[in-house]
Subunit: 219 residues, 2 copies
C-alpha cells in the first residue's frame, strides 16, 4: 500500500510595512470571522492546492487591501503546534514594503477593516502574529545595512533627504548627512530626474531608481 503522507493546512501571512507620520507602521486587518474575531491580525490566508506560495501572498494582499505590485520577500515559516486553535496550520510569512500613499489609512475590504498601526506599541494580535512582526522588523533593520530594500518605501521621485529619513526612522538614530549622501550615491542605483522639490528649504534634487523593482544586496 502506498504511503499516505499527513496533509496540513498552509497559509501565508504578510507583514506589510510603510513609513507614515515619521514612524514605521504595519498593515493590520481586524478579523471579521472567528477565531480571534475582532482582533487585529496580519493579512493572509489559506494556500490553494494549485497555488504557488507567493501567488497566494499576492492574491490575499490584493483581496484584503486592494494593493498590487508590492515588493515581497519570504521571511520564515512558522509551524509551531497550537499556533492556530482550529487545526494544525503552517504559515509561510512574507515581508512586504510600500510607500505610504498607496493605501488609504483605514479602508473597509471584504475581509474586514484594514488599517496602518505603529509598530510601537502594537495592539493585541491574533495567533503568533506578534512574533512574526518582530522577526520581520529584525529582517528589515538588518537588510537596510546590506541591501537596497529601503528604496521600496519611497515614491517614484524622492530627495536624498527622503532616503535618509527612512534609514533614521527604521534604525532609530540620526546619521551624518554628508556621509550618507556619499554612500547612497555611490550605490549607483539612483539617477537624477532633473526636477527639484521646492518649498521653504532650498530646492532639492529629485531622484528616481534606475530599476524600481530591483532590491539588491550591496555587500
Amino acid at each position: 500500500m502506498a504511503y499516505e503522507p499527513p496533509r496540513i493546512a498552509v497559509t501565508t501571512d504578510i507583514v506589510l510595512f510603510t513609513i507614515r507620520e515619521g514612524v514605521l507602521q504595519v498593515l493590520l486587518l481586524r478579523r471579521a470571522i472567528p477565531p480571534f474575531i475582532n482582533v487585529w491580525a496580519l493579512p493572509g490566508g489559506f494556500v490553494e492546492l494549485h497555488e504557488a506560495l507567493e501567488d497566494n501572498a499576492r492574491r490575499k494582499l490584493h483581496e484584503e487591501t486592494g494593493l498590487d505590485n508590492i515588493y515581497l520577500e519570504q521571511l520564515y515559516t512558522f509551524g509551531a503546534l497550537g499556533r492556530d486553535p482550529r487545526e494544525r496550520v503552517v504559515s509561510v510569512a512574507y515581508v512586504a514594503l510600500t510607500p505610504a500613499d498607496d493605501l488609504h489609512p483605514e479602508a473597509e475590504t471584504r475581509a474586514g477593516t484594514v488599517a496602518w498601526h505603529r509598530v510601537d506599541p502594537l495592539p493585541a494580535l491574533a495567533f503568533d502574529h506578534a512574533e512574526i512582526i518582530a522577526m520581520a522588523r529584525q529582517r528589515l533593520v538588518a537588510k537596510l545595512d546590506y541591501s537596497t530594500i529601503a528604496f521600496q518605501f519611497l515614491p517614484p521621485q524622492f530627495t536624498l533627504s527622503d532616503v535618509q529619513d527612512i534609514y533614521e526612522i527604521i534604525q532609530g538614530q540620526p546619521m551624518d548627512k554628508r556621509n550618507f549622501r556619499k554612500w547612497v550615491l555611490a550605490l549607483d542605483d539612483l539617477e537624477e530626474t532633473g526636477d527639484y522639490r521646492t518649498g521653504h528649504h532650498r530646492p532639492a534634487m529629485l531622484y528616481r531608481l534606475k530599476n524600481p523593482d530591483l532590491v539588491r544586496i550591496t555587500k
Copy 2:
C-alpha cells in the same frame, strides 16, 4: 457550513554541509524508493500532524544519517507547483553544519545509502534539490561575513589556522593571516585550551568556543 481549507503535504529538506578533503561537501541520500529511485536527494521527509517543523528536520536527519545535535537553521520554504511528481508538497528547507568527523563517508541507513558529495560538481538530484542546495550555499557564504556560523564546522578543539581554512575554502579566496587572526580573536568567542597541536609546523595553540552551541550575528 464551516470553511474547509485545502490541506497540503509538508516536508523538510536538510542541506547538511561539512568540509572534507579541503572542499565544501553536502550530505546526500540515494533514494531507495520512488519517485526518483536511485537518484541522490537531500535527507528529509514528511512532517507529521503533531510534529514541529524543526523537530521533523532533526528526526529525519537522525533516522537517515544517525546524526544528532547538529546546528540547524531554517533556510527557505519551497512550494512551486509540480516540484514533487506525486502531489502538491511544500518543503521547509534547513541548512545544517557539522564537523567532518561526525559521519562516516558512506553509510547504509534504513532510508538508503548516505554519502558526502562535493558541491562542485553535484550529481543529478531529485526534485528541486539542486535549487535548494544553491540557495543554502549562498546563505552560508553570506553568513560567514556577519555571523559565527563557520565555527560549527570545527571540532571541539581547533587552531586559528583551522578557522582560516574554513573561510578560505567556502569563500574561495586566500586571506591575510595576521588580519584574520586579529579579527577572529576580536570576536571574543574563543578561549585558549592551554594545549598545543604539534607536528611538522611549530606548535599551534588549540582554542575552543566559549559557547559551542551559539551562532551569533557579529555586526
